[in-house]
């Protein structure tokens, strides 16, 4: 109601920055080791032969603590991406209008990814 004609303060902004910071920290601490194991060490043949076997990984991921961990590993970095990509669109791609549309698109994709992550983790 108050100040309908003035620019509204963006109420979601502190939350967006908090998720960006939390996701940035999760990605900084955890992404390299996962990328190195799944993407490099496995293909290079550095892992024990059964390290990524179906039984072993199904057993590991089936554990509730591991599921919660994977939820954090997937969801917070998604919002880190959403926040940075929003500013990539403004800074590097030079889109200066449509701030609401850009924000909605970026955080909307992160929210959709969150829903997909929960759906997949619940089914395992």
């Amino acid at each position: 109601m108050a100040g309908a004609s003035k620019p509204r303060p963006a109420r979601g902004e502190p939350l967006a920055w908090a998720l960006f910071a939390a996701g940035g920290t999760v990605a900084a601490l955890l992404l390299p080791v996962h990328a190195a194991i799944l993407g490099i060490a496995y293909a290079a043949g550095w892992l024990p032969s059964d390290a990524l076997s179906y039984e072993r990984i199904l057993d590991l991921v089936g554990h509730p603590i591991v599921k919660a961990y994977l939820g954090v590993l997937l969801v917070l970095p998604l919002f880190h991406w959403g926040h940075r990509f929003r500013f990539i669109l403004h800074h590097q791609f030079g889109i200066h209008g449509a701030r609401g549309v850009v924000a909605g698109l970026c955080y909307g994709i992160a929210l959709a990814g969150t829903a997909i992550a929960i759906f997949i983790l619940v089914r395992i």
């Binding site: 990605a27 996962h34 490099i40 496995y42 991406w81 940075r84």
Partner: protein, 133 residues
Amino acid sequence: MREELRRPGYLPPMPRTWWLRTGPYRRFAAREFTSLFVLAFTIVLLLFLLALSRGRDAYESFLGWLDSAGAMALFAAILAAGLYHTITWLRLSGHVQVVRLGHRTAPRDAVTAAMVAVWLVVSGAVAYVHIWA
């Protein structure tokens, strides 16, 4: 006209590629672009878990893809961008997170060193559980 009303004062025109002009601008842009590889990692991890949820055949064909040259190239790019993000983020944490010790504050380098130690310990623990435990 509305732009002029909303932004009083002189705004110098900026070329679209302003962020390619100098080293600091390029490094700033590079840090923002690492987020695209964070997204790529999230998508690949989701596909890995989706394959796991669909049973042995789907999972093993995903492992087959992980063994391909294309997947290895993608992961090499994700790892390189991820390490750049880690280094810049942990260095920044010494500036962002002020640690008070009584009336004094911990030096920035000590905060960053502590974060690097946390990173190494956490990475070791993840590798242990992921590979051996």
